[in-house]
Amino acid sequence: MTTPALVIPPVDTSPPTAAVPETTNYNIVWVEQARLPIAKTQDVLLARFVTRDQATELGFEPAVLTRLATAISEITRNVVQHAGCSGIFQIGRVSNAERVGLRIIVSDKGKGIERPERFIEDAKLGLLGTGLPGARRLVDHFHIQSAPGTGTTVTMEVWKTEATA
């Protein structure tokens, strides 16, 4: 894939403030140049472009790239359309003794949502493959933390398995 010369606007490079659940014991290296503000639709495109770029470098299969880019689109689009303020997109490379993967955090300090798990639990909401349930089933690990007035943080992980190697 040809990488166009994109000008990434400067953003706040302070470390993520949202609590990140530790699911496994692994190392993480944040890609600082890939920290993006999420404020408008073009940022959604940029976020998925950056994600594809990172995933391609790690050697993920095209199908996984598509799934991942789709999940990123769903989550960042939620920020643009519903958060009521801009958010931050961060991506990091994770690794442990056996495998490597990507961790993506999309956070905002916007309206937030009450009982976010209901969006995950209700299978009917994801029947059309969109929104949080749609994003959840496209990644290996999905975690959402949100409360009204405090914003939302979505953490996603994909791991490179033998099949995708």
Binding site: T2, P4, Q42, T130
Partner: protein, 690 residues
């Protein structure tokens, strides 16, 4: 103790003789009576022997009938078991198909077609919306550019106004120079010519640049107007395409959901059908324990017959021991046979209920399958959705091309701004230099007071013009920067748009393939399930027609119980309630011992082992597998082992005994839509093991 009266001692001897005669008469009578009794007794024994012989024959016949019943039950079980096993396998296949259909239709897979298409639409919409953002930014920038060009025009006019006096000043310089010596005259004329040339050059250049700005502005304005109009059209087209594609996908998704829901409903109905099959198999399993009990009853009947066949005269003469034995043994057997038939009746009721449920539910499932089969799927949806996505991608293409056009239009303008900025800066320097030169020459001239004044005026014009030119230069620089930023941003978006468009184009091809596969696969699966379910319902009727078990049990029950009741009645005649002799009592205890749990378990294991070849023949499974599936008897100290030998077995339904002794480990089943791990369902699913 009775005492004799003394007066009676003196009675006459005659009376004694009469008494002797009477006594001999009585003896004779007694002998006669004894003979008559012997004759009657012989007749009675003969009658008893006839009765016993008849009873023994009936015992033999009844035993044969009971074993015939067991044999018929076993034969029927093998025959129907084979049929039910076949049905269970077919049902398992249908269930598997239902699960696959449900998963496929409900989009349970990660890359489900409809979801993939929906996500693709949203991603394409992102790109379109981002391009609109770019256009909005372009329009905003263009509005600002127009304002800036207007300002530049104004600044240009101001500069021209400021420079205008230089024409008169240079003319005055020439006139004044003509009064000077030839050397000075040449210098000032040359100075005047330079000033004139500079001013003319500045005027021409700035006018040309400003005219260029206006021309560029007009071109861009025309482009912006065109883009603005086309964007309105595109917004409408994209909105329509998105709405249409989503509607198609929704309709398709709804049809798929209906098919999936139908498959789920069918699966649930088939779950009930499996349960019925399991129930029938479970109920028919009673033949296993029935054989065991009938074996014991048969042994007891042999024992009774042996007693009846016993030709010992003493035994037959009194007849009491035989009747007592027959009475007690008959009561035990009656009780056992009643128990057996009660269980068989319950089993028959279960089989009848199972058959009724199986017929009813398989019929309902068949109807449901036909309903699922009639699920309408729009076969053109893949093309329609593809067209919608293609339309959106075409708009994205146009957007990317338009941005390229805009970039091309802005490029000369951007160059013009930069060029103009350079010229303006150079102009300011030239005017200032001319003013300085004029002042220097005027000082050195012999009579240069007038020249000095004129040079001062040139300097004043220069001082007035230079900041104005500087302001204009700054404005030009900012405008150039603004245009440059816009160009950079548009170029970035163009690059991103191209990458996204290429990816989305590939994904749209994939999406079309997925939708087309789904369109092709779902109707085929639905049709296959529908046909299988209808054929299954027909097979159910054929298999159930073979089940005669409830009728056979009902017929045999009344006859058999009637016989054992007669047996008890016969044994109870004359000798009922009397204590048994030791031998008869021992025999009865031995018979009772047959009905202990331990004895039943051993007999059951023996039946299973001897029955294996038959089952193997019916199922085609190797006997080793079946043996492995038969659980070992519980340990002696287990909670179930609470009855000692000789203690009669309490009433225990056969189903409980069966469930305790013939639990077949179920094979792992795929997750069904409605999980109900009932024993009968597992039994129905594993019916081939029987």
């Amino acid at each position: 103790m009775h005492m004799r009266n003394p007066q009676e001692r003196d009675r006459p001897v005659a009376a004694g003789r009469f008494q002797c005669a009477g006594q001999s008469f009585l003896k004779g009578c007694r002998r006669l009576g004894q003979r008559a009794w012997r004759i009657a007794n012989k007749s009675k024994v003969r009658v008893r022997r006839v009765e016993a012989s008849s009873l023994a024959r009936r015992l033999e016949e009844e035993k044969k009938d009971l074993f015939a019943l067991v044999g018929e039950m076993e034969t029927e079980f093998l025959a129907t078991g084979d049929g039910l096993s076949h049905l269970a396998r077919r049902l398992a296949n249908i269930q598997q198909e239902c699960r696959s259909l449900s998963d496929l239709a409900m989009g349970q897979t990660q890359d489900a077609a409809v979801q993939f298409a929906f996500q693709l639409l949203k991603k394409a919409e992102d790109l379109v919306l981002a391009s609109y953002d770019q256009y909005d930014h372009l329009f905003a920038t263009f509005g600002e550019l127009q304002q800036r060009i207007a300002l530049l025009s104004k600044q240009h006019e101001e500069i021209m106004r400021v420079l205008l006096p230089l024409n008169f000043i240079t003319m005055s310089l020439r006139i004044e120079a003509s009064r000077q010596p030839a050397e000075a005259q040449a210098v000032f004329v040359s100075l005047a010519i330079d000033l004139n040339r500079t001013v003319n050059e500045v005027r021409a250049t700035l006018e040309q640049q400003i005219a260029g700005f206006h021309a560029g502005e007009l071109i861009i304005q025309a482009l912006v107007q065109e883009i603005s109009a086309s964007i309105q059209r595109h917004r409408l087209e994209v909105t329509t395409a998105l709405v249409t594609s989503r509607n198609h996908l929704r309709a398709f998704g709804d049809a798929l959901c209906n098919a999936g829901a139908g498959a789920t409903e069918l699966s649930q109905l088939n779950h009930a059908v499996t349960k019925h099959i399991g129930g029938i198999v479970m109920a028919q399993q009673c033949q296993d324990i029935t054989r065991q009990k009938i074996e014991h009853v048969g042994e007891a009947m042999d024992e009774i017959r042996n007693q009846l066949d016993d030709s010992r005269p003493a035994a037959m003469e009194s007849g009491l021991g035989t009747r007592q034995f027959v009475l007690h043994a008959g009561q035990i057997q009656l009780e056992q046979v009643q128990g057996v038939f009660d269980e068989l009746n319950r089993a028959a009721d279960s089989v009848k209920a199972g058959i009724q449920g199986l017929r009813s539910d398989s019929g309902t499932a068949s109807d449901a399958a036909v309903k699922v089969g009639s699920t309408a799927l729009d076969e053109t949806v893949a093309n329609l959705c593809q067209n919608g996505i293609s339309g959106i991608l075409a708009i994205i293409d146009q957007a990317v091309l338009r941005i390229a056009e805009i970039l091309a239009a802005f490029e000369p303008l951007q160059a013009a701004f930069i060029n103009c900025t350079t010229k303006a800066t150079s102009l300011a320097g030239d005017v200032r230099l001319a003013a300085l030169n004029a002042q220097v020459f005027a000082i050195h001239a012999a009579d240069g007071a007038t020249l000095e004044v004129l040079a001062g005026r040139v300097r004043a014009v220069s001082d007035d013009a230079i900041p104005r030119v500087g302001q204009m230069g700054a404005e030009l620089y900012q405008t150039a920067q603004m245009v440059n930023n816009l160009g950079q941003q548009l170029a970035d978006f163009q690059a991103l748009g191209k990458v996204e468009r290429d990816i989305l184009t590939d994904e749209s091809v994939l999406s079309k393939e997925k939708l087309a596969q789904l369109e092709g696969a779902i109707p085929l699966m639905v049709e296959r399930i529908s046909c299988q379910q209808v054929a299954f319902a027909q097979s159910v009727d054929a298999v159930l027609a073979k089940v005669q078990f409830p009728t056979t049990v009902a017929e045999t029950r009344s006859r058999s119980l009637e016989f054992f009741e007669y047996l008890v009645t016969w044994g109870g005649a004359d000798g009922a309630g009397l204590a048994m002799d030791a031998a008869a009592s021992g025999n009865i205890d031995r018979l009772r011992a047959n009905y202990t749990m331990e004895s039943e378990r051993q007999a059951h294991a023996a039946v299973l082992l001897t029955g294996l070849p038959l089952v193997r023949a019916a199922t085609g499974l190797p006997s080793s597998n079946l043996l492995n599936d038969v659980p070992s008897a519980p340990a002696a100290d287990s909670g179930a082992e609470v009855f000692s030998a000789g203690e009669s077995m309490p009433e225990q339904p056969m189903s409980e005994i069966l469930s305790a002794s013939t639990t077949i480990p179920s094979t792992p089943q795929p997750t069904s839509v409605a999980e109900e791990p009932a024993e009968e369902v597992a039994l129905g699913a594993n019916v081939e093991l029987f």
